[in-house]
């Protein structure tokens, strides 16, 4: 049987693969949306509450900062995921499946994204904030009309990196019953030594990550007006994940 025939007939590929891909997309999509929804305000809070920020809150900032450091730096995602199973059960009513995995994916990735948001906001020059203050802006207006729009290229890049990280984490989630491409590769590639499935899974994940990165880079370029005409991929900074798993 040649390779092409195998691709068309292997039940793992014809039946399980589309389902697994769907689960992966669900995990990345749903947790991505929640990470954006929670992480963006959290990152803005980290920035504005820092000493010398728009509204310094020394103690609260310190506590939130420490919690985030501990989630992202001290606890490997694989362990966090297992530790969060009761939480996932409490929220979704089940401890297995893609939806349950979204809980730990979100909690594990929010701090990472919030940090990237904070870093992006720091790049907004203080002169712009001064200008907005002298115009008579409220703090909320500064966030909405200065910080977020001016940091947008960096924020888009940060979210792209976060989605890519989520693809990787979602594969790990598959190992503890989250489904998706990770579980497919584990069940067929590892437990049944089905090299074809393993290979196809890898290729699909690479393509998925490439597409996310490509769309992310293109969007970042679109919203970047910082340098005339040449606003391009060259000067576009890519955030590298700070975590090891």
């Amino acid at each position: 049987m040649n390779f092409i025939d195998e691709l068309m007939t292997n039940p793992a590929l014809t039946n399980a693969l589309p389902k697994a891909l769907g689960e992966t997309l669900l995990m990345v999509g749903v947790s991505g949306a929640f990470v954006l929804l929670i992480g963006l305000p959290l990152g803005i809070f980290l920035y504005t509450s820092a000493p010398g920020g728009l509204r310094p809150m020394r103690v609260t900032n310190r506590i939130v900062s420490d919690v985030i450091v501990n989630i992202t730096r001290s606890i490997p995602f694989a362990i966090l995921m297992i530790a969060l199973i009761p939480v996932a059960r409490a929220i979704t009513g089940t401890s297995i499946g893609a939806l349950a995995a979204c809980v730990s994916l979100t909690i594990g990735t929010v701090p990472f994204f919030a940090r990237l948001v904070e870093t992006s906001l720091r790049d907004v020059s203080s002169g712009k904030i001064d200008a907005a203050l002298v115009m008579g802006s409220t703090r909320l207006q500064i966030v909405a009309k200065v910080l977020v729009p001016e940091a947008l290229p960096g924020l888009v890049a940060a979210f792209t990196t976060t989605l890519v990280t989520l693809v990787g984490y979602s594969a790990m989630a598959g190992l503890t019953g989250g489904g998706g491409l990770g579980q497919l590769a584990y069940n067929y590639g590892f437990q049944r030594f089905d090299t074809t499935v393993m290979l196809v899974t890898i290729v699909i994940m690479v393509i998925l990550v490439q597409m996310i990165q490509w769309i992310g880079d293109a969007s970042a370029r679109r919203v970047d007006h910082r340098s005339a005409a040449t606003a391009g991929a060259k000067k576009h900074r890519r955030h590298e994940p700070a975590t090891a798993v």
């Binding site: 020059s125 002169g127 712009k128 001064d130 200008a131 907005a132 203050l133 002298v134 115009m135 008579g136 802006s137 409220t138 207006q141 009309k145 200065v146 729009p149 001016e150 947008l152 919203v223 007006h225 910082r226 340098s227 005339a228 005409a229 606003a231």
Partner: protein, 330 residues
Amino acid sequence: MITVTDLRKVYRQGNREVVALDGVSLSVPKGSIHGIVGHSGAGKSTLVRCLTLLDSPTSGSVSINGAELSAARDADLRSARRRIGMIFQHANLMDSRTAAQNVAHPLELVKTPKAAIRSKVAELLKLVGLEGFENAYPSQLSGGQRQRVGIARALASDPDVLLCDEPTSALDPKTTDEILTLIHDLTQRLQLTVLVITHEMQVIKRICDSVSLLEAGRIVEHGPLRDVAADLGGRLSTTLLPLPPAETNGSGTVLEILYSGDSASEPVLTGAARAFGMDLNVLAGSVESLAGTQFGHLRIQLPTGADTASLSRHLTGQGVAVRVVQEETA
């Protein structure tokens, strides 16, 4: 009208105190431009930051058109700030906004109707000479054009007061001239009260009606441009009408003289030379028109044995300031 009374600002750095402003008082009448000069570290930036309450003064008060700014909080402070337009060294425009959107920014903050914003923005861009650049992003504009957008934005809320922090320090000489002319014209047309912070004497010479010299957080000289320039030997006068370093050749007495306005150059010197029958040797000179008045600052050397005292008396009698910088050497 801007009034600053006994403004002090002390920064804490660890357990060290830095006195950035040490009792600054000044007042700028409506329709006039006041310049504040000083070297780097003199406290110029601190002064503008305290004027806009970007930093809160340690003590003292700032009032604009009689409204006390230093006591204002939150909503009051925001509406007080709207009476102030501010221009920055690097314009500080939003890169994500076009020229028109940048000018619209202050208007959006108070929920101005869209149509009103559009017409106001068009009017302002025309005022600063940027018609046709509505949709350009700051990165597509030159430094001078960016500063023009900054000026239009500063004027959007119809402020009474315009604060300029080193408005031309990042610009080339030609553009500097254009921007200064614009600020000068706008001040007269809109009857603004303007405070310009700068380290460039050029700015003072071109547009200021009055000037203060800031040094180590204190105003050490101040007054109308005409008066400070006429003050022979004063720090501002020396920088406004600079002479090259003295060269000592010959042994005669060396004098510095400063005349202004109607005591025009030729008659004064030639008159004196004729009256005393001596040759006056001009070593260096600086002639400028400041605040509409002609100023001359000369260093002259008298022949050996000349009657310095009577010559000085003669010149002083004609309204010329005289100062001996080097006695006759044997």
